[in-house]
Amino acid sequence: MKQGYYGDWGGAFVPEILHETFRQLSEVFAAAKRDPAFWREYVELMGSYSCRPTPLTRAENLSRRFGGARIYIKREDLNHTGAHKANNVVGQGLLVRRMGKKRVIAETGAGQHGVATATMAAKFGFECTIYMGAEDVQRQRPNVFWMEKLGAKVVPVTSGSQTLKDAINEAFRDWVANMDSTHYVMGTVCGPHPFPEIVAWFQRIIGEEVRGQILASHGKLPSRVYACVGGGSNAMGIFQGFLADPQVELVGVEAGGKGLESGQHASRLAGNDASPGVAQGYKTMFLQDEDGQMRDTHSVAAGLDYIGVSPMITDLWQQGRVRMTAATDAEVMEALDLTIRQEGIIPALESAHAFVQAFKEAGTLPASEAIIINQSGRGDKDIFTIAHAFNDPSWREFIRAKGQEYDA
């Protein structure tokens, strides 16, 4: 197979000016992979700066409610900065230090990856610029506020749909000019090789931990593992713990938005709207029109609202190793509500997609089985979106009053 390919997918479709940068990155990464001290340092840092190993929580109330398999939740929400994104950025931070670069850039949609990168940059003493669609800057102001407090420069991207994919393009444009000093911290298992491999390598920490945890708690492997799929990093992270165990079914959940038939969704693999393409440096299934122009996507969860998907996931899906499904916005709000009320746990809107599918299936499995949901992040950061989506009248009143206070 060609380097950087996963089946038919992946590759490195990069402008010549970045060729050398990618070569160096691949080299430094390969050296890091070979060096056992590197992984040890990474694990140590994730243990002392973030909160690894993150727990595996038994969801007893939900299990009882659905009356089938025992539901376990892998708690990536308890990471520093509130999501699995920390695993990746801290790892890349260590690579940046190895490369001797002093500046990092990143794209961000919901802001999670931006906050995580800005955090890592503060910790490592790097300069930091975050590209974020202008529309997302408006929607995700709290994250912008924190990125700025963390010392990052947040650049609103006004081109294209002013969302995640455009922020990625803009980050590439920065990189193309500043690659000597700068590393682009790709936020998910997408983009040109070796990014998918790098991000998956760091995120595998989830799967490694959870495999041991479920064996300790449940005495055997789970029958299914659920993860939401935006770019695919949290999914690849947890799936890697079970790829070699064919008896463990791996289930990815994409953003079904307003329904797969509505056209307003971000399902690349579960729906029928995507087709093979090459964009943002790699080959995968993209939501694009017949000419190859990328389409607008929609999800209540900004982190899943993306045109492409990891070439690794596309390959596993094509091989039949990963089953892909989708959850609609409405199902997500319902699952979120239930999880909060039953377990006292607030999943991120992204993560709640995985809960939807697990809830649909838990009852059909015997009580002797376990299933694991990867809770990629916490939802309290999404309060503006969640309170809005629940149409909470006191929240509206609160914001109205605050707004008036600032009007004066």
């Binding site: 490195a12 000016i17 060729h19 294209g160 590439f172 444009r173 000019a177 122009q293």
Partner: protein
């Protein structure tokens, strides 16, 4: 006659050639027609026709906006092919396509190249398609006698340049500096050294792009490169002063 031969012939007469660029469908095919007419009349030697793509990562703000507005205005790939055929038939200079790989990939690389050839174009510039990813494309170009223009960058090693050159034809597009299209380049010692390296790596003519917008810039390139590429500058000009300003501008570049 191959593209390279055609350029060599022109170079016998002029000490530097001009290649201009425009985004098909921006602001409209009608304006494109007028602009191309002006360019050809003003003595332009080659024209790049950029087929708009929604994710033009290698382009700066001016061309990015042009791509988007053309798509928003509804331009289709099919129309670009037709328009290119019309131009190539109408004007006696070489035309090239510039676009991103997904446009070819989605169309079908083979069919796209066949259409390109049938339209009478002489080559393509695909900035996000390194030769390692372009086997089918390179083979198709070879088969159809299209020039798959390769790109050198200041960050390319000499070895890499030789490899790229071995995969290309027509001429080499030398990116003058780090960064995207549209910003100024300074032609300093480092630049000279870079061009020297390019020259050592290939016998193909060298085109230099990125930020060229004045007779002075073009004059600086004389003796260094064979082709001066004018990209964003004409788009900006059309936006600010209309298509009629293009002819005098081009004519003034090589006084």
């Amino acid at each position: 006659m191959t593209l390279e031969q055609e350029l060599r012939t022109k170079l016998a007469e002029k000490n530097i050639l001009l290649m201009t660029h425009l985004v098909v469908g921006y602001p409209s095919l009608a304006v494109n027609r007028e602009v191309i007419g002006q360019m050809v009349a003003a003595g332009v030697d080659i024209i790049e026709l950029q087929i708009p793509f929604s994710e033009p990562v290698a382009d700066g703000p001016v061309i990015l906006k042009a791509n988007q507005e053309a798509i928003d205005a509804g331009i289709r790939v099919r129309e670009c092919l037709e328009f290119a055929a019309e131009m190539a038939t109408t004007h006696p200079i070489p035309f090239l396509f510039m676009t991103y790989y997904n446009i070819l990939f989605k169309y079908g690389v083979e069919s796209f190249l066949e259409k390109t050839r049938a339209a009478g174009l002489q080559g393509l510039i695909i900035p996000d398609l390194p030769p390692e990813e372009g086997e089918e494309y390179l083979a198709g170009c070879r088969r159809l006698d299209l020039a798959p223009i390769q790109i050198f960058a200041p960050t390319s090693s000499s070895e890499r340049m030789r490899y790229l050159a071995s995969q290309g034809a027509g001429f080499i597009y030398c990116v003058a500096r780090r960064g995207v299209t549209g910003a100024q380049t300074s032609f300093d010692r480092e630049f000279d050294h870079y061009i020297q390296r390019c020259r050592q790596a290939t016998d193909l003519p060298l085109a230099v792009g990125f930020g060229i917008s004045s007779a002075q810039d073009v004059a600086m390139l004389k003796g260094r490169a064979e082709i001066a590429v004018i990209g964003s500058a004409t788009i900006r000009l059309v936006e600010e002063r209309g298509p009629a300003a293009v002819g005098p501008f081009i004519a003034g570049l090589r006084p």
